[in-house]
Amino acid sequence: MKYAYYPGCSSHSTARDMHESAIAVACKLGIELVEIEGWSCCGATAAHQTDRILAASLPAANMLLAKQMGLDTVVTCAACYNRMKVTNHEVSSSPAMRARVADVVGQPYDGSVAVRHLVEVLLEDVGIEKLRKSFTHTLGGLKVAAYYGCLLVRPHDVTHFDDAENPTILDRLVDAMGGQSVDWPGKVDCCGGGLNLTRTEVVVKLSGSVLDMAVASGAGCITVACPMCQASLDLRQKDMQKQTGRRYEMPIVYITQLLGLCLGIPPKELGLNRLMVSPAGVLQSLALKA
């Protein structure tokens, strides 16, 4: 199993823990992630809010690099995943767009590079059975709220990620790890991440509502696969407390961090020390596999 790996900018910044845990888990499972040499920013929200051609050209340039490697592209950031998929959709469905992007990037791109999120690879290529066999630890029945947010599941006719309204990929991984995925209504709600610096009060309100739903479901942690969701939920719990008067101590962990723990990887190698809200509760419920 060999893939072209696109880490995305947040891997070296706010989501170093996501990157560290993804690499550690891939290594352990024998998944070869070859970093795309010279990769650049996908443009994120800033590009598509500014200019449609710029927004398609930045991801296209990266997918062209991956194309030369002849491998499927694997991403860990939900936003990069979304931008790449949207670009593939735009250039393959519109000849005019394809021509504009080719002119801007300097070579034609037909939208043919397969883009996959690491969790899709884990579920589809590695498979639950092999994962189960590789686990040395279990989550010891820990209740986990699997949170998907927006960018993986929408627009669904473009991302084709699991199910648009009730995705279960993360839930299935949680259950395979011996955790209990909870049934809760917040799965595909928006955390507000795009407004994190500009309209913080909106983020606090939306992320606060996600958190309240997770608390009500009895979850001991929320697991995510998106660095924006992680940042909004983890970083803003004190701000939420100010707004609602309720105290929150909800660990927000990447799915790859949970998987890493169950594969017996030390917490530090998974970047668990970088979380704002301590993951102590998660670590405590971790048990050796019988």
Binding site: T14, C190, L235, M276
Partner: protein, 189 residues
Amino acid sequence: MTIRINKVAKGTGLKAIVEEMSGVSLDACYQCRKCSAGCPVAGPAKSAPSEIIRRLHLGAGDELLENGLVWMCLSCETCYGRCPMQINFAAVIDALRSLALARGSKVPEGNMPLFNRMFLANVRVFGRSYDLSMIAGYKLGSGSLMSDTEKFPTMLKKGKMAILPPSGADKKAVRRIFEKAMPGKGKKQ
């Protein structure tokens, strides 16, 4: 709800140009409002997707570019995902934003255009996002220096904010993209 629009003159509404820029036709919208029911910011923005579409139907002009939803929209795509007519309203909002920039509309609360400019300026220079510089630029420009200051020391300590600029990107390729896609724009910070 009553919708008032300032019809400037016949045929000058934004609908046609927005449809062209976004590649989305709004004619099939029958105002079922599923989009608005799912929009997470319809409340704080004091506007909603179906309302914007109706305004466009009725010939709304540049005043629409200052509607609260234009810059508060999170691009969460819930409106598009739930529309029975598959109208990609998120793309419509992106077109409105591009138009608002081009026509120099009033700066929205929180100054998202400034944030985007800072983000893209750093990508243009480094080929990748440089959060520290981007945030500093945004904070200086927007005068929001004091917000979140308590978070930065912890983030730095925990390695959640890189101090040095990113390296490794094919900067030449990125610069070409910016120059070709947006000629003459974004050169200065």
